[in-house]
């Protein structure tokens, strides 16, 4: 999936993946897509809940070799 920006949050523990995601999405325009890579297992449920509460859309998420990848469209 194409993304407008990539955020590498691998190795970071909660709350940093979301803190950085929030900052990164603030720098995007509505409709643009942010791709996030994280290794903190809690990131999945938290990113899903955060996107929902912030009006963003979680387009897709995958897990490969312990790396969680998310694509979030700015709302």
């Amino acid at each position: 999936m194409n993304a407008d920006k990539l955020l590498d949050a691998k190795g970071l523990a909660c709350p940093m993946p979301i803190v950085k995601t929030k900052k990164a999405i603030n720098e995007l325009n509505t409709g643009e897509v942010l791709e996030i890579h994280a290794t903190d297992k809690g990131a999945k449920s938290d990113l899903t809940a955060w996107a929902k509460s912030g009006g963003h859309e979680l387009l897709q998420d995958t897990e490969e070799d312990g790396v969680l990848k998310f694509w979030v469209k700015k709302g």
Binding site: C14, I18, V19, G42, D46
Partner: protein, 376 residues
């Protein structure tokens, strides 16, 4: 005063001492509604940490000005961030739960149930965050541990402090809600590990069968543990009569509920077994036996010393699960059951030795309440 870390043990003391406590739980809403720190005098506010990244201005009005605030999250990091914001906003008594809900889930609070005949005693290990109950029965320098959780240091240290050797370790059934510490205790202490053979058909390691007629004893003075085959939660579920006075019911009978028969995918088959155990087999036992279950579901099941126990005769009067007509019973144990425990299939596989997840994965698998009873 600033922000201070507080351990799960200290929080347990606060909960059990009936002190009032205000908890700001900063996990997401799903996690909070699934599972939280409970107690009679606890007040909660749930606001996810991702809404508090820039500060706590929006929730200041909802927080108590002059009392302690305990900030809780999954692992500690997010609580610290929010705790710092609270201190900046002028709050003085701010505590952060050390290790977050993961530590809360693992903490074991040992309490003495009673002395036994001939100088022995029986202790209950209350896993307050998850509702699991383990037991240690000791007499004359020896001990039996029943339904051990995987945090086995608690049992090993307890035995060491009292100069007791753990001789036998047993599980009343193959657990689906938590990872058994049985095998690990066997490895660490050289104790013999017993399992009900009907639950152990697929296990990948050696064990001794826990069966009726094979009484276990501990100490010279013979505190006896008599297995009683009592299927229903699982096909192998086995209760234990200890010292002719205590009935360890495993996940068959709880203080406020009864076990569910569906966690191995065989609700229909096992509902009849559960009915027979609860309505025939247990009924023939002395109603003066003290029931000691393997779980609790509500904080109301704990007495003022944090112990979970009830007289069998009282449960036949008060426990709804023991007072149902057959049709109603079958409905209650097969329909509208609460969700299954988190990762219950993987937990069963782990307890059979079929998969061997690392410690971090084991922790994740055990997140949430036990959910072994028919009432949520």
């Amino acid at each position: 005063m600033g922000m201070k870390l507080i351990s799960a043990k200290e929080v347990t003391e606060k909960v059990l001492s009936d002190q009032s406590l205000f908890i700001l739980d900063v996990r997401n809403e799903d996690a909070f509604s699934d599972w939280k720190i409970e107690g009679k005098h606890i007040e909660h506010l749930n606001v996810p940490y991702f809404d508090l990244i820039d500060g706590v201005d929006e929730i200041v009005d909802k927080l108590p000005k002059d009392s302690e605030i305990l900030v809780v999250c999954a692992k500690q990091g997010s609580s610290e961030m929010v705790g710092e914001h609270l201190v900046e906003a002028g709050f003085k008594d701010v505590f952060v739960l050390e290790g977050g809900m993961k530590s809360w889930s693992e903490y074991l609070n040992p309490v003495k149930i009673s002395d036994l005949k001939d100088g022995g005693s029986i202790y209950q290990f209350v896993r307050i965050g998850k509702g699991c109950l383990s037991y240690l029965i000791k007499s004359n320098g020896e001990a039996i541990v029943v339904d051990a959780t995987r945090t086995v240091d608690a049992f090993i240290d307890f035995a060491k402090d009292r100069d007791v050797t753990i001789k036998h370790v047993l599980d009343t059934h193959l657990h689906a809600d938590h990872i058994s510490g049985g095998r690990l205790l066997q490895e660490r202490t050289g104790a013999t590990y017993y399992l009900p053979p009907k639950d152990a058909e697929e296990v990948q390691f050696d064990y001794e069968p826990l069966v009726e007629g094979n009484d276990l004893s501990v100490g010279d003075t013979k505190v006896t543990v008599e297995p009683l085959y009592s299927p229903g939660h699982t096909i192998g579920s086995t209760s234990l009569i200890v010292d002719d006075k205590y009935l360890l019911t495993g996940d068959i009978l709880f203080v406020e509920s009864i076990g569910r028969p569906d966690l191995a995918g065989k609700a229909g088959d096992w509902a009849d077994d559960l009915r027979n155990t609860l309505y025939d087999k247990y009924k023939e036992l002395s109603h003066d036996l003290i029931v000691l279950p393997a779980h609790f579901g509500n904080m109301s099941e704990l007495d003022d010393q944090g112990r979970v126990h009830a007289k069998l005769g009282d449960l036949y009067e008060q426990n709804a699960g023991l007072n149902m007509e057959e049709k109603e019973f079958h409905r209650a144990v097969s329909e509208n059951l609460p969700p299954q425990p988190n990762a219950y299939q993987e937990i069963r596989q782990t307890n059979m030795g079929k998969i061997n997840p690392n410690e971090e994965d084991q922790r994740e698998m055990e997140i949430g309440p036990n959910r072994c009873a028919i009432h949520g």
